[in-house]
């Protein structure tokens, strides 16, 4: 066989492109890389999707580089300079307690990023685990797990999150847990569907014949295959999660003061909306932008993955 030489080729400069475009990929890694590359090519045809991606990247950059972008501390108050309109000193003005709105929006990006990451970390594994176990074992296990999933699905997300957030008490982490509790069922369904199609695959049968345990099959062979589509799905749902988080913040169940969170900033700013619109506009626009960005990226991803989208 010539696999080794092929691989050596691909490692060479210029060979990468060839490897990427090889008509017959060798191995899982190459094929999935190729898939991602193909997907990216399609994705890059969506101007709106690209715009969304740009905003998300911007969010990450802003969150990471927050201290470099503003010299203000987002929690330091200045009662004498409260509700100052936007100016050179305060780019987006100040809020009710004289805090710099720009700094709060910038640092608020960290909170948003924290929400996004934590939800992903909780939801993806949970959904994956439930979905794959359900799909792999089938029968009564499947029946029970899917019934539980249905129950969670039969609730509107915000309402369920509201209830749980209230039950768990205020605080951003509790809010995230509450949101996660409502966000895993679609993931589980997806993972289950993928598992069902994988379960019958020949290579799984082969592995099973070699005497691998169910746990090993699920974790080593099925789970990794489900991850890409799960990631896509989580992205699709992220816009909704951000809006839900903002809604919780608006109802006083979000981040604890004084730490900046866009939803609660908007909530406390609405009292001043008519006279000092910047206090609410800045976090409101931030929420809208990020949520819109995820919506756009999600839409584009959906088109890329949807076979109907390729004409």
């Amino acid at each position: 066989m010539t696999i080794s030489t092929e691989d050596a080729d691909s490692a060479n400069a210029g060979g990468f492109r060839k490897w990427l475009l090889a008509p017959e990929p060798r191995g899982w890694f190459q094929s999935s890389t190729q898939q991602i590359h193909q997907g990216w090519l399609k994705f890059s045809l969506h101007p709106l999707g690209l715009a969304g991606l740009f905003i998300i990247v911007l969010l990450i950059v802003v969150a990471t580089a927050a201290p470099l972008l503003t010299s203000y501390d987002p929690i330091v108050q200045d009662m004498a300079g409260r509700l100052a309109p936007p100016s050179a000193t305060h780019l987006l003005g100040t809020d009710n307690l004289g805090r710099d709105v720009f700094a709060r929006v910038i640092y608020g990006a960290r909170t948003t990023l924290y929400i996004i990451m934590l939800v992903t970390i909780i939801v993806a594994p949970l959904g994956l685990l439930i979905g794959t176990v359900s799909g792999y074992f089938g029968g009564i296990v499947d029946e029970i797990l899917m019934r539980i999933t249905d129950i969670f699905l039969s609730f509107p997300g915000l309402v369920l999150a509201l209830g749980f957030a209230a039950a768990l008490g205020p605080g951003i982490t509790n809010a995230i847990i509450a949101i996660s509790l409502t966000a895993w069922p679609p993931i589980a369904r997806l993972a289950r569907a993928e598992t069902l199609s994988l379960r019958k695959a020949d290579y799984i049968a082969a592995v099973r014949l070699q005497g691998a345990t169910s746990i090993a099959i699920i974790t080593r062979h099925i789970l990794p295959m489900c991850i890409p589509s799960v990631i896509v799905r989580v992205t699709l749902n992220m816009a909704g999660i951000i809006i839900t988080a903002a809604g919780l913040g608006f109802l006083g169940l979000g981040a604890q003061p004084p730490w900046p969170e866009w939803g609660s900033m908007a909530a406390s700013g609405r009292e001043f909306m008519l006279d000092s619109p910047w206090v609410i506009a800045a976090p409101g626009i931030a929420i809208a932008l990020v949520s819109l960005a995820f919506n756009l990226v999600g839409d584009a991803l959906r088109d890329v993955l949807d076979p109907r989208g390729s004409e």
Partner: protein, 353 residues
């Protein structure tokens, strides 16, 4: 969508009537277990809430003896599963408990407030459908063009802008500046109490009693929150319409219709759209559930005396029974909508009849 999955597990049985019966039975079991699960969720939510169920009944000033007596009466000394069973039993008899903040049985409260929310959500859904469906269909027909992109931005913006912000802004513009609509509540104060509640739906009641100025006034009050709520749902409706439509437009019968000489408008609306009507109905039903969710925020802003405000106030006041009752109601409505839309699908689509 859950329901579609549920019904897809059909087995090939010899006799169609038997298979139907079996399917119905399976469906019933699924509904009952889901309902039980729903009850369990609300129950555990109630147990987790920091509110003291005893104090909710007795009021804060209570002697130790009374406290203990009520504690036992509520069955709080029993094992948790017994408590759950008695909770289920109470719900089965329509006893959702008393509200600590309104002093009324939750069921009575829900009877007066839920129609307000339903009315709002229905109008919102109509608005959402009137904007969302043509938007989605147009986007599908003009796929990839600038119209498609604009339609997408318009729709997604509605879903991305926080609803409380849109709400206050709209009040400022349409109420305060333009004086086009009413501000708070379901009706102007001077019409308050002039209509006898019959159905609980103010618009319907006013129409039945032929109080047209009152009807108009109520319409002026509902239109703004409903429009904002409706706009919120446009994203979902238009996205689904677009994707359904794209699927239909790639079908062979579209070629047939065009080969007959029909123009785009006829092909789209007479042929393709006819095929997505039933799907859209399902989507609208699901949207309706989502609108109940949106109502939670919009009702606070507009002082709309509905379920959303009831729930948020219950949360703020630690009124456990209110929270449990409202969440249960919304969950039950969701479930019902799922079943009904599934049913509608079967009834209305000639292929599944």
């Amino acid at each position: 969508m859950a329901s579609a999955e549920l019904t897809s597990k059909q087995e090939a049985t010899p006799h169609p009537a038997l298979s139907l019966l079996r399917r119905l039975a399976g469906r019933a079991v699924a509904v009952v277990t889901t309902l039980l699960g729903l009850l369990f969720l609300t129950f555990s939510m109630g147990r987790l809430l920091p509110a003291d169920p005893v104090l909710a009944i007795t009021g804060a000033e209570v002697s130790k003896e009374v406290y203990d007596r009520v504690y036992n009466e509520l069955g709080l000394s029993q094992p948790i599963w017994m408590q759950f069973l008695s909770y289920v039993g109470k719900i089965a008899t329509g006893d959702l408990g008393m509200s600590a903040t309104t002093g009324q049985p939750i069921l009575t409260d829900l009877m007066t407030i839920f129609p307000a929310t339903i009315e709002l959500a229905i109008i919102a859904m109509i608005i959402g459908a009137i904007i969302g469906i043509p938007l989605g269909v147009t986007a599908a027909v003009r796929r990839g063009t600038i119209i498609d992109h604009i339609a997408r931005i318009v729709a997604l913006a509605g879903h991305s802008i926080p609803i409380f912000w849109t709400g206050l802004m709209a009040l400022f513009i349409f109420y305060a500046k333009l004086k086009l609509v009413g501000a708070s509540g379901r009706i102007d104060v001077f019409y308050e109490g002039l209509v006898t509640p019959m159905t609980g739906f103010l618009l319907i009641d006013a129409a039945i009693q032929q109080q047209w100025d009152l009807f108009q006034n109520a319409l002026g009050h509902i239109i703004l929150p409903a429009a904002i709520l409706g706009y919120y749902s446009v994203a979902y409706i238009s996205r689904m319409s677009r994707s359904f439509m794209l699927e239909q437009l790639s079908q062979e019968y579209i070629i047939t219709a065009r080969a007959k000489g029909l123009g785009t408008h006829k092909v789209v609306w007479r042929h393709a759209f006819r095929n997505i009507r039933v799907q859209l109905l399902t989507i609208l039903a699901l949207t309706f559930g989502g609108l109940l969710e949106g109502a939670v925020l919009i009702e606070t802003v507009f002082g709309w005396p509905g379920l959303g405000q009831y729930l948020t106030r219950g949360l703020q006041m630690n009124d456990m029974n209110v929270v449990m009752g409202s969440v249960l109601t919304i969950g039950a409505v969701f479930l019902t909508i799922n079943i009904v839309s599934d049913f509608l699908y079967r009834i209305l689509d000639p292929r599944t009849r």
